[in-house]
Symmetry: C2
Subunit: 346 residues, 2 copies
């Protein structure tokens, strides 16, 4: 008999009561699933970089001490939610059991190899044994199990792509998926920070969706970033200018577009202070999609008002339906991006 | 002969070079206008509440000392941009001169009484004399002049509405204007913080646009707020629940909608930690409009991903074309809101 669970996993919150699993101090990591949960045999934990660095420092890079810290976190919290950094990571594993309430709602089969796309900071985890610690890759090989809630996101790892390459792309899957939705044929699309990982995926989707009547412009501050955009051929125009200099960006985009500016601007730059450049470079009535986690809500809201710019500004949602398939498909369609990503991230 | 100015007023930035007027330490407040500027004889400064409180404290509520502090700020910066709080305020005045490049682009006439809708923190200002300081109203009556850039927003004060009432509504004009754009006939609209100033204006627009086939639900944490929503009749359903409790909000909205949740959620609550309640209460594929300045970009972005919710999330832009007319029109159309606002804000 299975117990009935909440789709957000609140049935496993032990303290404080009323919290969601991510906000909770401690969750129940009993590996007996509820009717709408998925049990996974975990092979690898990809610990969030900030969290793993903190643990390595605290343990003086001693593998036994690192293992002890990790086991202690999970024993205390029921999840690998680093209490110092507040961050988690993701896991890779094989599906062991699917709750009966989910049987008709998922294509997943027992034995499928999946990566979790929700954070370890909200995932019930049990570690039987730590088998190996890869210091340089933020990876820990374990014997253990984890639970995915009904609302939990995951991706089946594709047989045709190397695992590390797939993981690198899945990490930013929301960006190309949202780009695919927002770009219309004929649009002038500006990708700020187009030479980075998410930026290049966005350039690819933008070029594909804007089509022959559209136009894709990439902005990068460094020479390497601009070279990547040029060599992949994904940006029709590449502008080397710092996104923290709004007037320089405005001038460059005005010149490149004959003063018409961008219909859609996608901001993928992970540095603070790039909101105004995005706002000024976008035409009246246009749209700005902020995927950068360094975005300041108030800088964007007050900045647009201060210059009287009537633009639609979107908060980047890391999830969009089908985002994993869309992101992985880019690597199948684009030989040049696959080669570049294999060199940089695999 | 007029000099040619930049629409964003960068031609008046003295230091640091390359900044926009708001980010600049000092701007040129010479009251000789460029070809695309508007000169205004200023009657009243509405100092931002945080700024005025700071000045009052520093001056020990002594009117002469307050005047000295204000004159000193403007002498040093060319604008009333409080260096301690970083905030400004707005002005009321009469149009004195319109630059020739703007003559065909504006309906404004010399002599029109206007309120500025951009911050004093970016507005060139010259104070001839401080005539009166209203301590309790954050208002200072002056003899002086100010300059509006081509991109600067303003509203002509309507002859049929009391000045203080118009100002109170203009202060949040973006909220009802954006609501008017986002609501479709038949929508279920949730207004979080519907009993506040911007919330009530949003409720009005939501009810009007959703129409007889739609539905408007207001959420408030306090009894007074809920009473205001009920007495105005603007929300068909009023739920008293705290927006910082996501599960309680989810449960209340599920019950009220038979599990269908909201097509559009408008967040007007100026307290932190209300992102998750807005995300959970909105249906898959729905839209959330964050008007609250207390919104955290990362809490919204990571929160939606954490619960696997595919929702469109918008950053509230304080400006939308025609926002002043839309907001003032609400007070003409709604007798009950006009009476309530006259009691609360005029």
């Amino acid at each position: 008999m299975f117990k009935t669970g909440c789709p957000y996993g609140t049935h496993r919150v032990l303290e404080p009561k009323g919290a969601l699993p991510q906000g909770a101090w401690k969750i129940d990591n009993t590996m007996e699933i509820y009717d709408n949960e998925i049990l996974v045999d975990v092979d690898v934990l990809n610990i969030d970089a900030a969290s793993f660095t903190q643990i390595r420092r605290a343990a003086g890079d001693d593998r036994e001490k690192i293992a002890a810290v990790m086991l202690d976190i999970v024993a205390k919290r029921g999840k690998h939610h680093n209490p110092v950094t507040g961050s988690g990571g993701m896991f890779i594993g094989r599906v062991a059991q699917i709750g009966p309430a989910l049987q008709d709602e998922t294509d997943l089969k027992v034995g499928d190899k999946i990566a979790s796309l929700v954070s370890l900071s909200l995932t019930p985890l049990h570690i039987e044994r730590i088998k190996k610690i890869h210091l340089e890759k933020d990876q820990v090989v374990i014997e253990g199990q984890a639970v995915l809630f009904a609302s939990g996101l995951y991706a089946v790892l594709p047989p045709d792509l190397p695992e590390r390459l797939a993981l690198a792309v899945l990490d930013v899957a929301g960006a190309p998926a949202q780009t695919a939705r927002l770009v219309h044929p004929g649009d002038t699309v500006l990708v700020v920070g187009g030479g980075g990982k998410s930026g290049l995926l966005c350039l690819y989707e933008a070029k594909k969706r804007a089509g022959v009547t559209g136009r894709v412009i990439g902005i990068g501050s460094g020479a390497n970033s601009c070279t990547r955009m040029r060599e992949t051929g994904l940006a029709g125009t590449v502008l080397q200018v710092s996104a923290t200099d709004p007037l320089a960006v405005l001038k460059a985009v005005e010149e490149a577009t004959g003063g018409r500016l961008a219909d859609l601007t996608i901001n993928c730059v992970n540095v603070p202070g790039t909101e105004m450049a995005s706002i000024l470079a976008t035409k009246e009535g246009g749209t700005i999609y902020f995927f950068s986690m360094a975005t300041s809500f108030t800088a964007a809201a007050l900045g647009a008002e201060g210059v009287g710019k009537d633009v639609r500004m979107l908060i980047g949602n890391g999830y969009a339906k089908g985002h994993a398939q869309i992101a992985l498909q880019v690597l199948r369609e684009s030989k040049v991006l696959r080669e570049l990503f294999e060199r940089l991230y695999a």
